[in-house]
Symmetry: D2
Subunit: 262 residues, 4 copies
């Protein structure tokens, strides 16, 4: 990737409302082709897909690893997507470099400092998710481990915090949008799929994120959620995703008039 | 109050986006006159003000009690406001009846069942705030103590839950808006003043509440927040409140076009 | 009750390791007679039993009310027990006065200030449970509402706080024993029945409470836990309670030698 | 280290009440010599000291790294201590192997799976601390990432969970001792230094851990806590540590008689 291209999508991420979509996990070439074709048709620019999956249990599906990265690389080449994918191990940062455009650091690794330092040495943007019980200060301090390596392309992503209520998978802290904007200059994203774990709550969360001025959202979409190897229950199917997208576009247009006044 | 008037504002509360505004505590006739005149000029229909204040420490200002209720009653008569005020003691429910239009039950009393039963025997709406660490199920079950007395005029109000982060006074759970709407038919309000404890976060919270379809918000406003006898730090002054109101109106207009599609 | 008797058991409560035992709820004369006879045989001095039950749902058993108090009064007369029972409503404080020796204020009512003020006007000890998400400061400040009425006979009772883990009913905060002892001069009790909600964890909790210097514990015991009208799952049956008691006595003896050195 | 020696201290760890003591961070040769001499005199077998420090801010002292490990190795050789030290990076596991006896995995890394897998490939015990908001199930599942590599020498260590109260640094969950013992066959340790962050609470926590049947505790001790490069506020000085040790020994003796009955 040339510097000019990198610069371009870095800028993209900092204006407008960006939608990162894709499956929880890369499962197969075929799956990613179907999803890639679908998202491309909808003019989605950022695709997500996990090659390395941090699962609570070691007996759950752990992702396709390097093979998964290669599948992502092919999709990227075919459609020109920017690829967002998680790394768990500092030794994988270099291996993943050629296949992805944005390194994702998951909640469990928000304070995995060697990993943060490693992605901080690269020139690719890093999407840093908030830890499950991380205060705003801890989250921002964690981002400093990335920045101190010279990499200032940091995106922060709220994905729900742990609370006493178990109706939702996590408690999506939408107020983190204005709080992070008040405390940092970094783009702030919302992950309503993990943040709520419930399909019917994704649209409201995205609408709120938009009006709150978030830089974007990350949404799980899968051709057949019921057959997904992970997180099927919170993934939208294609029809649901398209409805969501239409709704968001209308809201964006409606807000355009309002936005002038802010 | 005649039944037809009661019915009227009950219906009001169930459509549109209602703003309940006023000071944390009723402090004096003069204070309420200033606030009443200001809110009336802005066409605010619902005024709040605490006569009985549940304070963490018994040495903090506890409110003016019955005297405060009378001040509220006078303001109500002067301007035709609907008055929202908290009761703490089942023995005060009857005393407060003539002066207020909506009984507020605060977080600390969400599971004060004798109090819920007592307001459930009246014919006035009850605004039931969520307890500090109440699950959705507990909150809804608490509302059943009101409803079983025959009073179905229940408004639920999210005011922030207790979490591990102390940057904000509480963690305002905006997702409770679609969750409560999915689980009950009751109107849902948001109290961003207590929910965040920070003035700069009130506007974003109100904007999000509006787009999420909340039935309204409850906002603390005070002519001189720095001199307020309680919660001054989170109260808006008149200029800030007016700016917020203008912003909300613009957003409402912008959303009008969008709303058709929902 | 004469002042000398009252003084006597107040003092008792402040030395040694006191066991308050009994069913969650008073269910019938027969039930309380069986339990009373059993506890008396074991030389237990403090009996508990709920006449007014604060239940999450209004359709759950709400207790026998005044009838339950009378049953408690009879048991008290028969065996000379000190009776601990919860009040929920300030209007019941006077009604309960003759039947009970210690007013219990439950978690849900830790910040029910009119209720605290009302028991604070009496001359009977008050056992104030910690609220579900109450900080130490809030808990202590709540006790000041009792004390300011002149009633300094306050016992604090830790009963588990709300956390993210649902393996136990609550997270029993055993460290509250030394913390409360460092911050107040009040006796501190532990309620492992509600604090854990699991029978197998009651003995360990009681042993820890003893070594930490708690003034006592409150334990649910029922002749037939499976048939209890509330909280059966966490109640010990008679055999289990007796085993626990023997274990505690042995530990007390063992600690006697150690205690000299503290 | 020969297999027989390793086996020996693995067994040690599984019986009796083990005290792991030492500074938060290895700061210098001189510091460790002073501490080593002191702990050896007291017949402490397990020494702790951080060479790699996971600090919230990258501008805080990060530990001496390999140099720190070498200092630990020298102390180990001089006195025959078993050395417990934290690793953060899977690439450091091999480097640390020769200098330490027990790998410590800290709270922030409880779900750092590549790191767990890496220590799971070694033949040295691993002390796995509970994550800040980890449920028991997540903690145990995390241990499976170590075990699946063939390393069954796992010690679990409770170090306080994150709650709403900030009086203590964390909320030390002493009930995790019987809970973990009921759910796993692994030894369970308590870290009251991080678990409370307050020196005056360390002795009570250790006493409770002992009576609850914990396999040991991990305690921060420093010759001059006020000058410590990290966590000075929660470190015991030598005199305080010696008092604690005496108290624990007396309690152990007292419990010996009791233990027979359990």
């Amino acid at each position: 990737m040339t510097d000019s291209i990198k610069m371009e999508y870095s800028l993209e991420l900092e204006k407008g409302f960006n939608i990162i979509a894709g499956p929880c996990a890369v499962e197969s070439v075929r799956q990613m082709e179907i999803i890639g074709e679908f998202l491309n048709k909808l003019d989605i620019k950022f695709i997500r897909g996990g090659a390395f999956k941090p699962r609570t249990s070691p007996s759950s599906f752990q992702g396709l690893g390097i093979k998964g990265l290669k599948i992502l690389g092919d999709i990227k080449d075919s459609y020109g997507f920017r690829v967002v994918s998680e790394v768990l191990d500092p030794r994988d940062v270099e291996k993943a470099y050629d296949y992805i455009d944005i390194y994702q650091i998951g909640s469990r690794n928000m304070q995995n400092y060697p990993l943060l330092i490693e992605v901080g040495k690269t020139d690719k943007p890093v999407l840093l998710k908030r830890g499950m019980s991380a205060t705003f200060e801890e989250w921002i301090k964690a981002s400093e481990y990335i920045a101190m390596g010279g990499n200032q392309h940091i995106l922060l992503c709220e994905r729900g915090i742990r609370s006493f209520d178990d109706y939702t998978r996590n408690t999506l802290d939408l107020m983190s949008i204005p709080i992070i904007q008040g405390k940092t200059g970094y783009p702030i994203f919302i992950d309503p799929s993990h943040g709520t774990g419930r399909k019917e709550l994704i649209l409201p969360a995205v609408r709120a994120a938009l009006v709150l001025g978030a830089n974007g959202v990350m949404i799980e979409v899968h051709p057949e959620p019921a057959k997904a190897l992970s997180d099927g229950i919170q993934s939208l199917n294609f029809k649901e995703f398209e409805l969501l997208l239409n709704n968001v576009k209308k809201l964006e247009q409606a807000l355009d008039e309002d936005m002038v006044e802010l």
